[in-house]
């Protein structure tokens, strides 16, 4: 093996350097944005002439940002709950069911991940215009669910495939009803998969911008939409401040996910 300990000599350092460059490539833009959000330059000059928190203050002082944040949060939570319920139920059917067209149906459930988002957005736009859902909260939820449900189908499906069905037989013979078995055995055992489904669904909605732009109205603008529109009007360091907060929130969620995976691993 190339990476066997004590071998490889110089080549190891080449690999280390390569890894460091790859990480820098991925992380530097984020670090850059975070630094800019703390700089005093209105024109995003780098390096910042002075350090300041005024962009964060401006952000906190503008109620439109708070409205958007609140909307994005409510939306992401609704989408998370519905995505785990719908996607989880679909995953049960796709994993446990023995019916014709099961594979086709599974491909169908995962297809929003493959179809370009903009196509989904346009289709959804014209469809929801007919239903009068544009610019409504329900329209947003429906649109984001399309993006989020595949994550739930995949996460819960993977957990269910690893789940030993004999556990349910054991619970049944012990006297547990279907519902008791589901509540006390199946769901707790696949809980890490449900958690992963919830986190990915939350992030899918939280970061979603394409569908949201089509769905948005002047009154209902999610955080990414608000960022997009204000970016088009003027380039203000407030955007950098918002971005930094979004990145921090995402990192927090990924950290939770990582901890969950670590907790599951020793088994």
């Amino acid at each position: 093996m190339i990476l066997t300990r004590g071998q490889g000599g110089l080549f190891r350092y080449v690999l280390y350097g390569h890894a460091a460059l790859a990480m820098a490539f991925l992380l530097l833009p984020i670090v850059f944005i975070a630094l800019l959000s703390l700089g005093s330059s209105r024109w995003l000059a780098f390096p910042p002439p002075e350090w300041t928190l005024k962009w964060y203050q401006e952000l906190a002082g503008d109620p439109r940002w708070a409205e958007s944040l609140w909307l994005s949060l409510r939306l992401a939570l609704c989408v998370t709950i519905l995505s785990v319920l719908l996607g989880g139920a679909a995953a049960f059917a796709l994993t446990r069911g023995r019916f014709r067209g099961r594979r086709l149906l599974k491909a169908f459930f995962v297809s929003p991940m493959i179809v370009p988002v903009v196509i989904v957005a346009i289709a959804l736009y014209s469809f929801s215009l007919k239903l009068g859902l544009n610019g409504t909260f329900i329209g947003f939820v429906a649109g984001h669910l399309i993006i989020a449900v595949p994550f739930s189908v995949i996460c819960v499906g993977n957990s269910l495939r690893a789940f030993d069905i004999a556990l349910e037989q054991a619970a049944a013979i012990c006297g547990a009803s279907r519902l008791q078995t589901l509540r006390r055995v199946t769901i707790p055992v696949i809980a890490p998969g449900l958690m992963a489904a919830a986190i990915f669904s939350f992030l899918a909605s939280w970061d979603e911008v394409v569908i949201s732009i089509f769905m948005a109205s002047p009154q209902l603008q999610t955080l990414p939409v608000r960022m997009w529109t204000s970016l088009r009007m003027d380039l203000s360091p407030v955007i950098a401040a918002v971005s930094t907060l979004l990145v921090l929130a995402s990192m927090l969620l990924m950290l939770v996910l990582g901890l969950l995976l670590i907790r599951r691993a020793p088994k």
Partner: protein
């Protein structure tokens, strides 16, 4: 309750999957408190039969009665059966106590009673100090003992065990076999046990049902199966056996004269081959063959053989010998100071078999 009602009564049970008959007409009665084993190779229908009793599979036709009451169509939770599975099926997210308490808590028993009964059940399998552990922190043998405690804690009328020791090594198997035997004696629970290991079946069971192709070939005690096999399959499956070819030569009343592949003649009661004509198979156990350099007295059939392989095992010497007809027999002879005879490889000898020790089966 009336003790004459069988704990389990299977009547002409069938299970078909498409064209394949997994269980093909099984009828059986299990007495209360009996330890009965389903013995057979994989695909013989033993596990499918067990699953139908548990309620995981519904029979295509036939009847299952527990204590005289039909359970066909009744879901598993309402059958009041305990079961131990081949794989460890402990709930990984619960402690040992949580696992054993599970059957009681789904029955919504009072907390104090649950605590008391869980403690007793864990004491029964000698794991009372392990209550707070997770299943993943236990060895395979300990996990299977927890599974046993969980299956017994609600005092089911019947305990099913589906190759519960299959995943354990030999030493642990014997330890838990003993533990299960003791529990059976102490609790008097009816046990249906599935295994493909004939030694395990012989060691543990009151009676054994030998399964083959979805049918029961024979039900009986270990001695019955070994000394009075009903079919050639049972004769070959339980214990070591030799099969010789033969042909029905002549019938005289209740006696049948059979010509063996060499030139020897064997006369046996017609019994199981009352209607057979032509080819038959004769089974004789290795320890029932006497090997001697000289032809013995007339009460035995003597077949001239050549000594092939010889293995000295201390108290026993085993031989592989070849008949004039080219058939190989294994012979197992006791060895002691009083009986020190050992035959050399390559010598001519006589394999002597008493007619009453032969089991004759018609060739299907």
């Amino acid at each position: 309750m009336n003790d004459t009602i069988p704990a389990v009564q299977l009547t002409d049970l069938h299970k078909r999957y498409g064209d394949f008959a997994a269980v093909d007409g099984v009828s059986l009665e299990v007495r209360k408190g009996e330890f009965l084993t389903f013995l057979g190779s994989s695909g013989s229908g033993k596990t499918t039969t067990l699953n139908m009793i548990a309620g995981f599979d519904e029979p295509t036709s036939g009847q299952i009665r527990l204590n005289g009451i039909s359970v066909v169509g009744l879901p598993p939770p309402r059958r009041n059966i305990g079961m131990v599975f081949q794989r460890y099926t402990l709930f990984p997210h619960m402690s040992v106590e949580g696992n054993v308490a599970f059957p009681l808590s789904v029955r919504a028993l009072p907390k104090a009673e649950i605590r008391e009964r869980v403690r007793n059940a864990l004491r029964l399998v000698q794991l009372e100090q392990f209550g707070m552990r997770r299943p993943s922190q236990l060895s395979g043998g300990q996990q299977q003992r927890v599974a046993l405690a969980r299956a017994l804690v609600y005092e089911p009328q019947l305990l099913l065990m589906d190759e519960p020791l299959g995943a354990l090594d030999k030493k642990l198997r014997e330890e838990i076999q003993l533990a299960i035997r003791k529990l059976h004696h102490r609790l008097g629970v009816t046990i249906l046990y599935v295994t493909h290991d004939q030694e395990e079946a012989l060691r543990m069971s009151d009676r054994i049902a030998v399964f083959q192709h979805g049918r029961i070939e024979q039900v009986g005690s270990g001695e019955d199966l070994y000394h009075r096999p009903a079919t050639a399959f049972v004769a070959g499956f339980v214990g070591n056996s030799n099969f010789l070819r033969g042909e029905v030569a002549e019938r005289r009343g209740h006696q049948v004269a059979i010509k063996l592949a060499g030139e020897a003649m064997l006369t046996v009661p017609s019994g199981s081959i009352a209607t057979a004509a032509g080819a038959v198979r004769i089974m004789v156990r290795p320890e029932e063959i006497e090997l001697a350099p000289e032809r013995g007295n007339g009460a035995q059939v003597a077949i001239s053989v050549e000594v092939g392989e010889r293995i000295f095992l201390g108290d026993v010497v085993t031989y592989q010998v070849r008949t004039a007809g080219g058939e190989i027999l294994s012979v197992r002879q006791g060895h002691s100071r009083a009986n020190p005879r050992v035959l050399d490889v390559g010598t001519q000898a006589f394999a002597m078999i008493a007619a009453e020790r032969c089991h004759v089966f018609a060739v299907a």
